[in-house]
Symmetry: C2
Subunit: 243 residues, 2 copies
Amino acid sequence: MNDSATPAASFPVTNRNRVRRKPDRARFDKATVYDILDSAMVAHIAYVIDGQPYCTPTGFWREDDRLYWHGSSASRMIRAQAAGLPVCVTATHLDAIVLARSGFHHSVNYRSVMAYGTTRLVEGEAEKQRVFDGFVDRFFPGRSQEIRPATVQETKATTFIVMDIEDASGKIRATHVMDDEADYALPVWTARYPVHQVLGAAEECPRQLPGLSLPDGLQGYQAGRRLDEVLLEAYHTTYPTKG
Amino acid sequence: MNDSATPAASFPVTNRNRVRRKPDRARFDKATVYDILDSAMVAHIAYVIDGQPYCTPTGFWREDDRLYWHGSSASRMIRAQAAGLPVCVTATHLDAIVLARSGFHHSVNYRSVMAYGTTRLVEGEAEKQRVFDGFVDRFFPGRSQEIRPATVQETKATTFIVMDIEDASGKIRATHVMDDEADYALPVWTARYPVHQVLGAAEECPRQLPGLSLPDGLQGYQAGRRLDEVLLEAYHTTYPTKG
């Protein structure tokens, strides 16, 4: 084993990703940052065009220290990002609503990652096709081989953006009600309410052909399951060696 | 009735909020934009410091055409926004994952709002206290009167930011599987999976005093309910005349 072949276990802490507020909630180790990202399907991307910040919700996924997303080649966001833009990509999971005996200590439990880098275009037909398939398989293992391949028109109409994660910070709050000591004596009902994104039962396409059944790669998509857990599981099925 | 007293029913469409891609999904009427905002607890806020875009998840709420959020007076984001910054505040609800018979037509159903404006500080002790209570009551009707009031130290340590919504756009996708006509003949299993943020059962504070019971204002917070529906309901309880 050569140490230089081992990727760094943590992201560097810079002026940009340092967690100034509640530093006890900060996480810079890649294992934690990856898990938060890989449990999500939609991120919010901040970018600037003509001095105006925009925050666009976008489907995304990760490969190693790169984030990918895509959009129409005609999209203003995608055209600007294809030319290279600094962005901040944020994935957030709301885990609980936490009431308290004072307004000040009302809070939420959450896991979030803010990842920073500069965008560029995914180029080359073979790489574009690989990434097109990766976007499908990352969420639905094996599905790219079961569906109709992308046409030339479709790959032309779709632009893929990639961002190398230069630095990133995770932030986690996962505690119960935390009140000032004196306030526990107050007759105020308090509780924590768990919150999860949950899958409903599959609604099959009304034009489904007879005789088809749920593909193996979708066995994890069961009604009532937490989406973040299904997505993380699907991720590790498709990228078994990528942490 | 004086027409000039009737607020505009729609946000103006500008170069900033025009929906270029999939304009059939765009919504500019305030009733729809408000509902999407008022069904959410966390927004993502894009802002720029020293040329670097940031995207920060933040609890927020609406009053008329103003959005409010808060943070520690020591927070970098809050200090920059208190001085006045252009921002984009985005609230997103993921409603379904939509598989298809081609990669190109895989999609998600969602409701989102991107709201634009310039931040400023909430000033004045009385207004600050009103907004402090509003933040609690917007989510938990009546609760500000049941808990310990904020102390002078707490209101000093907390900065509230307000943004007038100058323009905003809603975007909604709410359809089933939509494939190219020829592809319906392919033997590919397809479906739509509903996704909802769902409340779990209240986990009472381990130091709860005996004899306390669920306050009236929290009756909507029932295990298994959709959070977006609970939040919208709570909003209309607290702001019955505010649409």
